[in-house]
Symmetry: C2
């Protein structure tokens, strides 16, 4: 199957690399956000893992990265085989509508028959062959004129993810190989998440979209004509000598909107969205509880430690200790604790309260620190 | 009253400065133990506070410090008006029997009519006039031939202190101004501590002993003749050119024993010990729960922070945060937490589990770090 995609000259992969990872502060900072970090301590950043995964499906000539101008040097250093002409630099963040839309416009100019797949730079995926299968199926549906979204089979009543609801318990199978989608659902509360899990009609939305550039651009033209116009202008100047200053000028008027609103949701209403079930391990690693879950298999009584084990002394404790400093860390008599130690900041919270990190970052902001800029 | 003691040429103050403060790691380390630290963030070490307090009672010519050879430079730097002839340096720690006994022997050689008061270097005392009153009363009892110990009126069922039991609910008043003592009591459990508090017959043992040097040396001679012999030899060579090497040699055979065993307990049995009630605030600041108590008045739902408040962000949390590093500390959603952040080590524990710090230090020791030597 890998070969099938590799030789499909119309298929391009896009990596929007922009999430700030606020809830992973102080590991994630605005200077070096989550996607540039090796969160799982395997000496490979999440971006690098994403890149390697996609390289097994698509030749590097057809993999593009969309990221902030501020991350240019770090991205080029981490991904030495990225073609400079495949690096799209945004003057400032404008959400996924602009990022994926701009990539679609740039690629469409190169190949009007292109199909693009958009893959988050900062998610964790395990199970390459299942991932490849789902992408290959998605490309088939995309060729048949659909917007494909990969849905992850839920394994627990997660409240931190968006969901995709298929049309009934026995959803129609579209011409391609996907189920028809009834609607997108925002992050639910725990009871709602439990009912989703039981119903069998819901998938986690992994944010992986695959479609013809033509379909995406048409949806943008129809539902967000101003954004569409800006994207065409940007694609026109991309790669020219005056690209950076032209981008700076045009960017002022680029709308900040998530890809779902002008593209995925309207296409769902038109019956042009299908969900392709993905049976691989997927985690958006959005907060420290997710990291704890990944390391302990969800055992709330276990202690996970990331960093030099010899410098971490733990007794009668559970939770997560991340050591990124060069200090001794001692933890004793604390349950479900989260300790994140970096050279510039220390965070102490508890597994049930990891969402509070957002407020911490907001508070730092108020104090006129650059909150994420402490690393 | 202050004048009364100042002009009493027989009264000397001794500060044994030796406690390691293991349960205050990583603030307290073997390199810079508790007594050299400004635990309460007032830019004055506990030793300096003790020194200033005693200076208001006794001229510096009659205040001696007994400490480890390793702390010589730091002590001289912190206490510039300490006379070099009043600094007794122990080659290694040998507990309070040797420390107070040696000071008694050295002072007795200078003045055979001397009365000494021994005051811990690392306790917190507030209420100078009440303290002065208790010391003055103790000196009167000491002049009458008693060993005086200052007893603190208990204000809660503390399990972390030793107690002194007076002889019955209406104890006899000795010739001086103290109550007769029935016995010393080791640290009790909570139920026992509660019964002590209710009975009204118990005082906290603040470890402040006041007596004629003659009485102390006689008790040592009788109950610990080998220690007594070593102390006489040490006093003989103290201040000579060969003092350091002579100390090194004689020190090998010096017994490690607490002052209570050869002196206070036998004198209690002979009816020669009196307790003088002290009505000042006293705290031995033995662990982080004690520090939290001092800062919050014992309100377990309060958060106490020590260090630059601007660099500590706390939300929905209670407990104690000590910041001695130059980093941002963020704490969210944790109850009764203890966070101690130093440049070399980080401790995270909870108020009910602060005793666990001892095991942490023991574990560090096992790993062949010098546990207290990380500052």
């Amino acid at each position: 199957m890998t070969g099938q995609l590799q030789s499909n000259e119309d298929f391009y992969a896009v990596i929007p690399a922009g999430g700030m990872g606020t809830r992973l502060w102080p590991v994630s900072t605005s200077e070096k956000p989550k996607f540039l970090q090796s969160i799982l301590n395997n000496n490979e950043s999440l971006l690098q893992s994403t890149w390697e995964r996609l390289k097994s499906l698509v030749p590097v000539e057809r993999i593009l990265i969309v990221t902030g101008l501020a991350y240019k040097d770090e991205v080029l250093q981490q991904i030495p085989d990225l073609l400079p002409s495949n690096l799209i630099l945004e003057p400032s963040p404008r959400d996924s509508g602009a990022a994926i839309g701009l990539a679609a416009a740039v690629i469409h100019k190169r190949n009007p028959n292109a199909i693009i797949g958009s893959f988050h730079a900062d998610h964790v995926i395990r199970g390459l062959s299942s991932f490849t299968l789902a992408v290959t199926q998605s490309v088939i549906s995309a060729e048949a004129g659909y917007l494909s979204v990969i849905g992850i089979h839920p394994t627990r009543a997660a409240t931190g993810f968006g969901y995709i609801k298929t049309a009934g318990p026995e959803p129609k199978i579209r011409e391609g190989v996907g189920f028809s989608v009834e609607r997108f659902v925002e992050k639910p509360d725990l009871d709602t998440a439990r009912s989703y899990l039981q119903s069998g009609e819901y998938f986690w939305n992994a944010g992986i979209f695959i479609a013809k550039t033509e379909l995406i651009l048409e949806a943008l033209k129809k539902n967000s004509p101003d954004l569409y116009q800006s994207l065409l202008e940007l694609a026109e100047v991309f790669g020219t000598d005056t690209c950076e200053s032209d981008f700076e000028r045009i960017w002022q008027s680029v709308e900040r909107i998530a890809f779902e609103y002008p593209v995925a949701i309207p296409l769902a209403e038109e019956g042009k969205l299908v969900v392709i079930p993905g049976h691989f391990f997927w985690e958006d690693v959005g907060d420290f509880a997710a990291i704890h879950r990944m390391f302990t298999g969800g055992n709330s009584k276990a202690l996970a430690t990331i960093g030099d084990r010899d410098a971490i002394i733990a007794q009668d404790s559970s939770g997560l200790v991340i050591r990124r400093s060069d200090r001794i860390i001692a933890v004793t008599g604390v349950s479900q604790i989260v300790v994140v130690d970096t050279p510039d900041a220390l965070l102490v919270t508890s597994l049930p309260n990891v969402q509070g990190v957002k407020q911490i970052v907001a508070e730092l902001d108020k104090r006129e620190y650059n909150p994420l800029n402490t690393n």
